[in-house]
């Protein structure tokens, strides 16, 4: 019913009151002539109802023909509204301007939302998009979005798939990271390759899949020594050349020294702090506080807050800069404190050491010492690691 009422309002209709001794006669005539009347209400010697603006003249003509008094009591709908405001050109101009402004502004991106997988930083993607010109206030077309997508896929190798979906003035960027193939232990059949030692140590394990081993378990080796040869001697006395592939494990040692000055200077924040605020709208910064950048050594912290409306981000940002004055202060550290810090550094080093492939700590020896105002921690590590390094032999036909 709403649709019917809406179309009646759109095309316009009038309420009428018909005065006659026999109003039913008008009903019969009207319906016989195909007039569309509704909300008809019969009263004593009168009839009320509604008629379309298009059929109003016909309804009046029929009433006149039947000798009845036809009176329009009220007018409804858009045509009457337009007629009423036809002299107010400013209203129409405002309406057109508003509609045009709404159409133009809806072609701009107001808010960019990035859904990046764990391996890809959202901030980096935002910066890359900014470099390509896609930021708040970007005027978009279908072609520009497709072009942008291709450019970013070429620019960032980590992305395997991406889409930019536009919802009104919001752009949602969806990304998928690339799955790299697992590197297999491949060998090049056209090249002759040896495996040599990368460090000094004692062999603890040999596993040769291609080539012939030149060392044995328990042998001591030097850096650069041949471990697996690409020249293979067969039982019949002949020799062949091939690329070599092997896993050689050896016991190695490594000495690491961690140092800390006993008297150190520390940077501390003072109470002197300045707060600067600015309003950012479509990349235009409007300062809200009237003060310049302070002189001297300051620590600056920037926070950016986005304005929201009904949970929807708007392209309005409030940028707050906190400038805090910093100064240096001498601090004397106790031996206990220095030991603690050095121990923590050593643990951190060991964590990163074991993150490397095929490196395992077998033993460690620690010693603390003081020298020239510094406190030292010397750690001697005994490791088990993969020591093989590929070395290709130059041949006449190799590129």
């Amino acid at each position: 019913m709403f649709i019917v009422n809406f179309f009646r309002w759109l095309f316009g209709y009038a309420e009428f009151c018909l005065k006659s001794n026999f109003p039913e006669r008008y009903l019969n005539i009207a319906f016989k002539n195909g007039l569309h009347l509704w909300k008809t209400k019969g009263e004593k010697e009168s009839l009320k109802g509604c008629v379309k603006i298009k059929e109003l003249n016909e309804a009046m003509r029929l009433a006149q023909k039947a000798g009845m008094e036809f009176e329009i009591t009220r007018e409804h709908g858009l045509p009457y509204l337009c007629r009423r405001y036809r002299k107010r050109a400013g209203l129409l101009a405002g309406l057109i301007f508003g509609a045009a402004l709404s159409c133009i502004l809806s072609r701009f991106i107001w808010n960019i939302e990035i859904h990046a997988p764990d391996g890809i930083n959202e901030y980096e993607i935002r910066n890359e998009l900014k470099q390509l010109g896609f930021s708040e206030g970007f005027y978009y077309t279908f072609d520009s979005i497709v072009d942008l997508r291709h450019k970013l896929l070429i620019m960032d190798n980590r992305i395997s798939w991406m889409s930019i979906n536009i919802f009104g003035t919001n752009a949602v960027v969806e990304l998928s990271d690339r799955d790299y193939p697992i590197e297999s232990d491949k060998t090049d059949s056209n090249r002759i390759g040896n495996i040599i030692s990368d460090v000094d140590g004692t062999i603890t394990g040999i596993s040769v899949s291609k080539g012939s081993a030149a060392v044995k378990i328990g042998e001591g080796i030097r850096k650069g020594q041949l471990l697996v040869s690409g020249i293979i001697e067969y039982n019949d006395g002949t020799a062949g050349f091939s690329d070599s592939s092997a896993h050689i494990k050896a016991k190695t040692s490594e000495a690491v020294v961690f140092r800390l000055p006993m008297n150190s200077k520390c940077i501390i924040k003072s109470d002197n702090a300045i707060t600067k605020r600015s309003l950012s709208f479509f990349n235009i910064n409007i300062p809200l506080t009237l003060c310049g950048d302070p002189m001297g050594s300051f620590f600056r912290e920037i926070t950016k807050k986005q304005a929201e409306l009904f949970g929807q981000g708007l392209p309005i940002f409030i940028k707050e800069e906190q400038w805090e004055e910093i100064g240096e202060k001498d601090i004397d550290k106790t031996e206990e404190k220095l030991k603690n810090i050095l121990n923590k550094r050593q643990l951190m080093y060991e964590y990163f050491l074991t993150l490397e492939d095929n490196r395992k700590i077998i033993k460690r020896k620690k010693s603390f010492s003081k020298s020239n105002g510094t406190y030292e921690l010397k750690v001697l590590y005994e490791l088990e690691e993969e020591i093989g390094k590929k070395q290709y032999v130059m041949t006449g036909d190799s590129g």
Binding site: N28, F31, G42
Partner: protein
Amino acid sequence: MKGRLKNLFTVDNEFLNKVPRYTMQMADNREVIFEGCKGVVEYTDTSVKLNTGSTIVSFDGRGLYIRRMTDSDIIIGGFILSVEFIM
């Protein structure tokens, strides 16, 4: 042959007598769809009288109104209390 063709295209009088001149379909006592109306004789909010050619059908009630009307059909809405056939 001629007699057979005549029989084929002759409509039985009995069949014609069975076709109603007007039909009424009532939804409770709130609405009536009337087919075969030849005009409105009386129209007030308490009474609507319809001409069917041979009979006048009178609907009495409260708040009666014509919802929709064409040259042969009419829909009457309102609270219908009685239906009367005036011959």
